[in-house]
Symmetry: C2
Subunit: 348 residues, 2 copies
DNA sequence: CGCGAGCGTTTGAACGTTCACAGCCACGGC
DNA sequence: GCCGTGGCTGTGAACGTTCAAACGCTCGCG
């Protein structure tokens, strides 16, 4: 007797509703999918039964019939935290929330290998588990776009695809607008010199954020006093790069950082030298990660909900046979001020 | 002409394989699911065709026939980061990786409301999108276990269910073993007094970790010199609680923290007073979060891959009709030493 | 030599849905 | 009064899979 007794009472099917409402199953289907084709009183009767029996179409049956999974795949890997400054989780959440509105759902799959490979994608496609993918961390020499193109699987990416400038199926954050807003805020708070601590040149995202800082400084007429340095997305190297920049900007100055991790490094160095964030030196980060929130660091928050929604819309369009959009979607982030960039507020 | 031309060449079905291998579809099905029932040469022929045609059973058809989704639901919410110290993402990844081995997949769904409600669960169940759930953050007065029990939906939880001591469908980390290992390490490194900074009493997880610290201190005969304090899982309150404890333990002492966030708070306070982690005061955290890694804080790393695997196994068993296990599964975490608890190593 | 058992294979049915089309009815124009 | 039309509802088929049962073959036994 190892057989399962499937949940006390079997869930209602379209036939149960049809029988209860004294119509055929097709009429029930129409009520759900093409309400306009059904006479008002019939519709009301069917809708009442749907409600009463708590009927919801079986996604498996629908998938089989429609030859589509109604699902979008998302690869999660253990590298996720490093890249994109720790917001991958929030992005995954927003995607999961947004999926309901696009009547699909998110299926995650993982790869434990270091380099993301296409085997996971292939498995998903072959099992017809998903119709499309969201790529969250495209990088240089990424094999995935080409493979997906060849296989004819639609996808949309969070961030531009470096190797393929012609590809427009992306949504991204306007990095320049973000750092620009940070500089505006710092100037308004009265910081006189504004430095920038970025990634080494050559990363599109990093260069974009640097440009926003430079342009804003020029606009405020403080560019000549400003300085920049570069580092990679790790705490210790960042701390080494931070120290001289802090001295160069001096007390009463501020540093706009290319990411929250870098901003944290700056704050650490500052604290070790006995100075107070905000009061002695302004600091802003980028990404709106929990890291920044926890450490009371001002940050440029990415509109992840909008990005998720945009990507899902694009995927819907691709699945409906529409061509790629004219151009990618650039969304404006929000600057969130915290103690690290307020001169008057004591940093707890 | 908005109709989609579905990916150049339709993917192979069981019938295509059957025709190519000159057998019936059921024989192909047997080769895949019950290879022992098929004659060796037939099997070889069929397997060759499966390989050649890149056949993989359609999950939709399988779901419909077997009346099960072959999927496990996981709720992700925006609160995730705060709770469980930021390891939710890593847990999600491990679950996604582990799913393949249990031939199922993970479907995530989100709730944007603050309090986790059961509406998301209900939607998943009604659409037959998932067969079971993993609950990652059960808490006091959690309505979900009772609702799932009533609905007859299996689930397994990461962490014990407070309100239901009889429920054994959980996997958790042996918190006491973790803090105990931390104390062992600190004593071996030569720290003489070991304090504990925990959460307020009454949380099972927190009390467990505190007990491990106390028992290890007793074992090493240093309990009388040890001290404890309590705080909540937020940076600023933690910093306030940390300051007096740091003074009480004194230079050459160490503090075992109930979480990485708390450990970070201790390190921040220490740095602000010009002292060096590890050298002047030992610090250990708990969770193995990226936060600890980035800040070079020793931590007790949770075996998330094992937990994910165990939970998926339990779900498989429940779906196969087996009863709840005798007791929950307690897994041993690993202590990972870093600069914050090495007396000789300079903290960069 | 007949018969049951066992093995490997095939066949029919079913899972729940939607599409294409057929049917029914009422209405209006000729 | 007949037929075409348009609005609404019902019927058969199909999506790809697995289960239950039937089938044909070989073998061993009486």
């Amino acid at each position: 007797m190892t057989k399962v007794t499937k949940g006390a009472n079997r869930r209602a099917t379209i036939n149960d509703v049809a029988r209860a409402a004294q119509v055929s199953r097709q009429t029930v289907s129409n009520v759900v999918n093409r309400p306009d084709r059904v006479a008002p009183d019939t519709r009301a009767r069917v809708e009442a039964e749907i409600e009463r029996l708590a009927y919801r179409p079986s996604s498996a049956a629908k998938s089989l019939r429609e030859q589509r999974a109604g699902a979008v795949g998302l690869e999660l890997n253990t590298l996720g935290h490093g890249r994109r400054g720790d917001i991958i989780y929030s992005f995954t959440v927003e995607l999961s929330i947004g999926a309901r509105g696009h009547d699909c759902h998110i299926v995650t799959f993982g790869s434990d290998s270091d380099r993301p490979s296409i085997t996971g994608y292939e498995a998903m496609v072959r099992a017809r588990l998903v119709d499309a993918f969201v790529l969250a961390d495209t990088h240089h020499d990424d094999p995935r776009p080409a493979w997906l193109d060849k296989a004819g699987i639609p996808y949309a990416t969070f961030g531009r695809v470096w190797d393929a400038p012609d590809f427009t199926g992306w949504a991204d954050v306007d990095g320049a607008a973000g750092t620009s807003a940070a500089v505006d805020h710092l100037v308004a708070e009265g910081y006189s010199r504004v430095g920038f601590l970025g990634w080494p040149e050559g990363s599109a995202t990093g260069d974009d954020r640097r440009r926003g800082w430079r342009e804003a400084c020029e606009r405020h007429g403080i560019y000549r006093e400003s300085l920049q340095a570069s580092t990679i997305q790790e705490l210790h190297p960042a701390e080494e790069a931070a120290a001289p920049l802090i001295e160069a900007v001096g007390t009463g100055g501020a540093i706009v950082c290319v990411s929250d991790v870098i901003a944290l490094a700056v704050q650490q160095v500052l604290l070790q030298s006995g100075r107070r964030p905000g009061i002695d030196l302004g600091i802003t980060g980028f990404d709106g990660s929990p890291l920044a929130e926890m450490n009371d660091i001002s940050s440029v928050e990415q509109p992840l909900d909008q990005i998720a929604d945009e990507l899902l819309s694009q995927i819907s369009d691709r699945l409906a046979g529409q061509p790629l959009p004219e151009q990618g979607t650039l969304l404006t982030p929000t600057f969130v001020p915290r103690a690290s960039s307020r001169r008057g507020v004591e940093h707890a």
